[in-house]
């Protein structure tokens, strides 16, 4: 086939990125990813980490899977910065590895999913530069797991104004949206970037025909629901009941959450309406109490999405789900470690740090 293509020249219509290229080697990718998942930190580690001091935690990270990253960066950074950079670098390299070991449809969908890190990086850059954060601080929060390379991102971080950053992103899909940024509407732009990400993700999937795309769509829809639920909880707690104010903040394409119906309800009715959804089991013990911290509600929701991903990865073992399951578990681990690290550094109480962690 390749020989024929070479003889006749490639047909431009076949190059459409909607077509999968190559075949997805599920057996290889899924088993390798499962082996990678077995290397994630077990839940027994976290109570131990909470009892450690910062130096001990750094040493612990140095002796774990993050060893190579810590070693490579030890020349440049030290202390908290070193751990933060090592975690980010490890996350980026792990996702890069996922892209290397997958092909065809799998690879195509994962690339689309990981664009979330491009959005994350753009947000970080805009925030950092707008509030005049030092370049080192911005670099600490960049995760080059998406399409932008670390070199490109560090060049952007060194720019003096946000306008220069936006100009440098001229070639990207986000440019039309970023042009609306005037230095005052950061929250709006961030929201719109999130929405643009999810709508482009749904566009990439198209009409889900293959089994993989159906599972992937389900996964994304659950994620959208969890995000929307978090937003709704925040707004309801703040007493916002106007649909016009709420709906622009809601991401379209959720699974079972009818945001337009939930938006105008007061808090008690909102909770009553949630009882009929699948998410109620996850949040029932904490949602009813109006005094319960939103952090706990949100971490319960995150736990729910992590657990349901794991359940579905057992239901469809040879599919994209185990890989998505690994992606979110890995990012959760990095998030947990960062919470512990930064929490300890800021001298927060252990119970407060513990509430923020999502340990599976």
């Amino acid at each position: 086939m390749r020989l024929l293509e070479r003889l006749w020249g490639t047909n431009p219509y076949r190059k459409s990125d909607k077509k999968k290229k190559g075949t997805s080697n599920y057996a290889y990718a899924v088993t390798r990813v499962r082996a990678m998942k077995s290397k994630l930190l077990p839940k027994e580690t976290y109570p131990r980490l909470l009892n450690m001091g910062i130096d001990e935690i750094t040493r612990f990270i140095q002796e774990s899977e993050y060893k190579n990253d810590v070693d490579e960066l030890a020349m440049k950074y030290s202390g908290g910065d070193l751990a933060e950079h090592a975690l980010n670098r490890n996350l980026a390299l792990t996702y890069d590895k996922l892209l290397r070991i997958t092909s065809g449809e799998l690879n195509y969908l994962i690339v689309a999913y990981l664009k979330r890190y491009d959005i994350w990086n753009i947000k970080t850059l805009l925030r950092g530069i707008l509030y005049n954060a030092p370049v080192e601080d911005i670099l600490e929060s960049l995760i080059s797991a998406g399409e932008f390379t670390y070199t490109f991102l560090s060049e952007l971080a060194a720019k003096a104004t946000y306008q220069e950053v936006i100009d440098a992103l001229k070639e990207t899909d986000y440019y039309p949206l970023l042009q609306e940024f005037d230095g005052t509407n950061l929250a709006y732009i961030e929201n719109e970037l999130d929405k643009a990400y999810y709508s482009s993700l749904f566009a990439v999937i198209g009409k889900p025909r293959s089994k993989d795309r159906k599972l992937f769509v389900r996964f994304i829809k659950l994620e959208v629901d969890v995000k929307n639920l978090g937003t709704l909880f925040r707004l309801k707690r703040a007493g916002v009941e106007e649909s016009d104010e709420i709906m622009p903040l809601i991401i379209e394409g959720g699974m079972e959450l009818k945001s337009e119906k939930l938006a105008p309800l007061p808090y008690e009715q909102f909770i009553d309406a949630l009882r009929k959804t699948h998410y109620w089991d996850a949040i029932s013990s904490v949602a009813e109490l109006e005094t319960a911290s939103l952090t706990i509600v949100e971490s319960r929701l995150t736990r729910h999405s992590l657990e349901s991903a794991t359940t579905y990865s057992h239901v469809s073992p040879i599919s994209i789900v185990p890989i998505m399951d690994y992606i979110i578990h890995k990012s959760n681990e990095v998030k947990n470690l960062r919470i512990i690290f930064r929490g300890k550094e800021a001298g927060l109480d252990d119970t407060l740090i513990k509430d923020q962690l999502v340990v599976i």
């Binding site: 088993t31 390798r32 499962r34 990678m36």
Partner: protein, 82 residues
């Protein structure tokens, strides 16, 4: 018909059918175990790339489908000796 004039009797005699049966038994089981081993083999390589300690287990799991072709071999030998 034209064929009837050229070939007298059935297209294959009893020995021919036996040989064909034996060939099919070994061919189909050979292909089946090859396909199964390919799937398990790639999975085993994936696991081994992350954890070298899985070499032994991977090797054993990879050769288990070999039993299929052994059954095929037995079947074809039985057919031939019948």
């Amino acid at each position: 018909m034209v064929g009837e004039e050229l070939v007298s009797g059935p297209f294959l005699d009893a020995d021919g059918m036996k040989a064909l049966g034996a060939a099919l038994a070994i061919t189909v089981t050979g292909l089946a175990s090859a396909w199964a081993e390919k799937e398990i083999g790639t999975a085993a390589i994936g696991a081994m790339a992350e954890n070298e300690g899985l070499f032994g287990k991977g090797l054993i799991l990879t050769v288990i489908p070999e039993t299929i072709v052994i059954f095929g071999l037995v079947a074809s030998l039985l057919i031939n000796s019948a």
